[in-house]
C-alpha cells in the first residue's frame, strides 16, 4: 500500500489551473505520445482477438465469411481426431519439456554456483542455443536424429551393431524427439534464470544457516530452493508459453509427421487456416490456444500482483 501511495507522490504533473496553449500541451503531451501505442494495442491485440473470436463462430473456409454458425466450429474441433491428437501431443510435449527444463536448469544452476572455474565460458555454452531460431535447431536435430546416418550410426560405429534409434520416423516416438530438441534449446535459459535467482539470494542468510549448523545439502533444500519459488513460477510461465506457441520447431523437424502424429495446436491452426482453407476451424483452434494461455497466465498474474501489493 505504501509503495503505491509513494508512487502517486512521485508523479510530476502539469498544474490543473494552467491555462493557455502551452500548458495544455504540457499536460497532454505524455498522453499524445502514448496514443499511437494505445491505438495499436487496442486494434492489433484486443480488436484482433475479438475478430478471431467472431471468425471462430462463422463457417469461413477459404475466405472469411460472416455466416454465423454459433459454436459449430468448436464442436467440430472436438470431434476432429487430428485436433485431439494435437492436444494430447501438447500435453506430452509441454509436460515433459517443462519438467526436464526445470530439473536440468535448476541442477546446472546450482552446480554452476559452486565457484566453478571458467564459469563464464560454460554459461555461454549452455545458453547459446537460445540465440538460435527453432528452425535452425530443428534442422540440426533432424539431422542428428536421422535414422541411418545420425546418432544411430555413431553408436553402431562404436561396435553396438544392433543399436537402433529411429524415433523421428516412429509415429509413437516422434513427439519425444521434439522434447529433446526443445530442451536443448531452452534449458540453458532456464539455467540462467535460476543462476540469476541464486546470485540474488542474500549471502548472510546462508552464513546464518551455516552458523546454525546446517549442512550444504540441507541449506539448499530448506533455504535456497524455497526462496527460488518465484523463479520456478516465472520459468514455468515462460516455458509453458513456449510450448503452447511451438510451431517452428515442429515445422522444421517433423512437419507434424509422420502422418499427423506430431501435430501441435499451433501447427493445426496454421494448417487449417492457411493451407486447408478451414478458416473457421483455424480461428476456433486459435481461440482455444488463447484460452490455454490465459488459464495459466491469469492465476500467475493474480498472485504476482497481489504479492507486489503486499511487498
Amino acid at each position: 500500500m505504501r509503495a503505491i501511495s509513494m508512487g502517486a507522490h512521485d508523479r510530476p504533473e502539469a498544474t490543473a489551473k494552467a491555462k493557455g496553449g502551452l500548458a495544455w500541451l504540457e499536460r497532454w503531451l505524455p498522453k499524445m505520445v502514448l496514443a499511437p501505442t494505445f491505438v495499436m494495442m487496442l486494434v492489433f491485440i484486443y480488436g484482433y482477438i475479438i475478430w478471431t473470436a467472431v471468425l471462430s463462430m462463422t463457417n469461413s473456409r477459404f475466405l472469411p465469411s460472416y455466416d454465423f454458425v454459433g459454436l459449430l466450429q468448436f464442436e467440430k474441433l472436438f470431434e476432429n481426431d487430428r485436433w485431439l491428437v494435437a492436444c494430447t501431443n501438447l500435453g506430452i510435449f509441454g509436460g515433459l519439456f517443462i519438467l526436464v527444463c526445470l530439473v536440468l536448469g535448476v541442477t546446472l544452476a546450482i552446480l554452476l554456483d559452486q565457484k566453478i572455474r571458467q564459469e563464464g565460458a560454460i554459461r555461454t555454452v549452455y545458453l547459446y542455443p537460445m540465440a538460435l531460431s527453432f528452425i535452425v535447431t530443428g534442422t540440426a536435430w533432424k539431422w542428428m536424429l536421422n535414422p541411418g546416418l545420425g546418432l544411430e550410426k555413431v553408436v553402431r560405429d562404436l561396435g553396438f551393431e544392433s543399436f537402433s534409434f529411429d524415433w523421428i520416423v516412429d509415429p509413437n516416438m516422434a513427439i519425444y524427439t521434439l522434447v529433446i530438441a526443445a530442451v536443448w534449446q531452452s534449458s540453458g535459459f532456464v539455467m540462467a534464470m535460476f543462476l540469476a535467482g541464486l546470485r540474488g539470494i542474500d549471502n548472510s542468510i546462508i552464513q546464518a544457516a551455516q552458523i546454525d549448523g546446517a549442512t550444504l545439502p540441507k541449506i539448499y533444500r530448506r533455504i535456497i530452493l524455497p526462496s527460488l519459488r518465484p523463479v520456478f513460477f516465472s520459468a514455468f510461465i515462460i516455458l509453458s508459453h513456449i510450448a503452447i506457441k511451438s510451431f517452428d520447431l515442429v515445422a522444421a523437424m517433423t512437419g507434424g509427421g509422420p502422418g499427423y502424429s506430431t501435430d501441435l495446436p499451433a501447427t493445426f491452426m496454421y494448417a487449417h487456416s492457411f493451407t486447408r482453407s478451414q478458416i473457421g476451424l483455424g480461428a476456433a483452434s486459435a481461440m482455444l490456444m488463447l484460452g490455454g494461455v490465459l488459464a495459466i497466465l491469469i492465476p500467475y498474474l493474480y498472485s504476482e500482483l497481489r504479492g507486489s501489493r503486499n511487498g
Partner: protein
C-alpha cells in the same frame, strides 16, 4: 582423530568437486554437440557423409556445400540459394528493431515519469501483448495487410514485428526507467526543461545498457521469427528462416545434408555472433522482467 576426519572430509570434497565438474562438462558436450555436428557436416562431401558418421572428421574440408547453400540451392521452386532471403531478413530486422526500440523507450518514459490516471492499467493491458499466442491475431492481420496492400511485402513484415515487439520493448524500458529516481525529472522540470528535452538530454544519455539489451533481444526475436515470415511473406520477401525450412523440407530428390547444415549455420550466424559479442547483455535481456517480475 581430528586430523583424520579433516583429511577424509577433504577427500570427500575433492570427489564432490570432481563429480560437479564431470556433470557440468557432460552437459556442455550435450549443448555443443549439435553445433559441432553442423559445422563438421557442412564441410563434408555427400560421399564423406555416407561413409563416415556425425562426429567423424571430414576427409577433406570442402566449401562446396557453403557456396551451394548461399547461391544455388533450391528453396522450393527457385534455386538461388539463401542469399536473397538473408538480405530480406536484414531488411526486415533493421527498421523493425530500430523503430520498436525507439517507441519502447518513449513508452517506458511516459509509463514511469509521466504517469496519469489509468496509465498503470494501460501498461497492464499492453503487457498482456507479451503473452498472447500470436495464432490468435494471425487471421485478422492477414486480412488487414491485404486491405492495406502490404500482404507479402517487406514493409508488411516490418509493420507486424513493430506492432507485436512493442510490448516487450516497452516492458524493458519501463523496468529500466522505474529505477531512475523521479527527482531527476523534477530537477529538470525546475530547470525549465520540457517533456522531450528531459527525454533527450537526461534519460536517453543514461539508457545505453537497456538500449543494447533491447536491440539484442529484438534482433534475435525478429531474425529468428518463422511464424510471421511464413504467413505474411511469400516468394521474394520471405525471411531466411522460411527459406531454410523450404530448403530442408521441400527439396525433392537426394537430401544434401551438408548443404542443409551450411544453410542452417548461415541462418543462425548473425544471432550467434550477436550472442558471442554481447552475451552479457543478451542474458540480461532474457532474464529482464522474468526474474524480477
Amino acid at each position: 582423530m581430528v586430523n583424520q576426519t579433516a583429511q577424509s572430509s577433504m577427500n570427500w570434497s575433492r570427489i564432490n568437486r570432481g563429480l560437479i565438474y564431470a556433470v557440468l562438462l557432460t552437459a556442455a558436450l550435450f549443448y555443443l554437440l549439435p553445433l559441432v555436428v553442423m559445422v563438421l557436416t557442412s564441410f563434408k562431401t555427400m560421399d564423406d557423409i555416407r561413409s563416415g558418421n556425425l562426429i567423424s572428421w571430414p576427409t577433406e574440408f570442402v566449401f562446396d556445400a557453403w557456396s551451394k547453400a548461399w547461391s544455388t540451392a533450391c528453396t522450393g521452386v527457385r534455386c538461388e540459394g539463401v542469399e536473397g532471403y538473408f538480405w530480406n531478413s536484414v531488411q526486415i530486422v533493421v527498421p523493425a528493431v530500430l523503430i520498436s526500440t525507439f517507441l519502447g523507450a518513449l513508452n517506458g518514459y511516459v509509463f514511469t515519469k509521466w504517469k496519469f490516471r489509468g496509465s498503470e492499467l494501460l501498461f497492464g493491458l499492453l503487457l498482456f501483448g507479451c503473452f498472447i499466442p500470436f495464432q490468435v491475431v494471425l487471421l485478422p492481420m492477414a486480412q488487414t495487410l491485404g486491405l492495406l496492400g502490404l500482404a507479402n511485402t517487406t514493409a508488411g513484415l516490418v509493420f507486424v514485428h513493430i506492432v507485436y515487439g512493442m510490448a516487450f520493448t516497452t516492458l524493458f524500458f519501463r523496468n529500466f526507467y522505474i529505477n531512475i529516481p523521479g527527482e531527476l525529472v523534477k530537477a529538470a522540470q525546475l530547470d525549465g526543461a520540457g517533456f522531450f528535452t528531459i527525454f533527450w538530454r537526461i534519460l536517453l544519455p543514461i539508457s545505453g545498457p537497456i538500449i543494447v539489451v533491447t536491440i539484442i533481444w529484438q534482433t534475435t526475436q525478429i531474425w529468428n521469427d518463422f511464424l510471421f515470415g511464413v504467413v505474411y511473406g511469400s516468394g521474394d520477401t520471405q525471411p531466411i528462416t522460411v527459406a531454410l525450412n523450404n530448403l530442408v523440407n521441400t527439396s525433392t530428390g537426394v537430401k544434401e545434408y551438408n548443404v542443409h547444415m551450411a544453410a542452417a549455420i548461415i541462418a543462425g550466424l548473425p544471432t550467434l555472433l550477436v550472442y558471442v559479442l554481447a552475451g552479457k547483455y543478451f542474458v540480461r535481456g532474457l532474464t529482464a522482467g522474468s526474474v524480477k517480475g
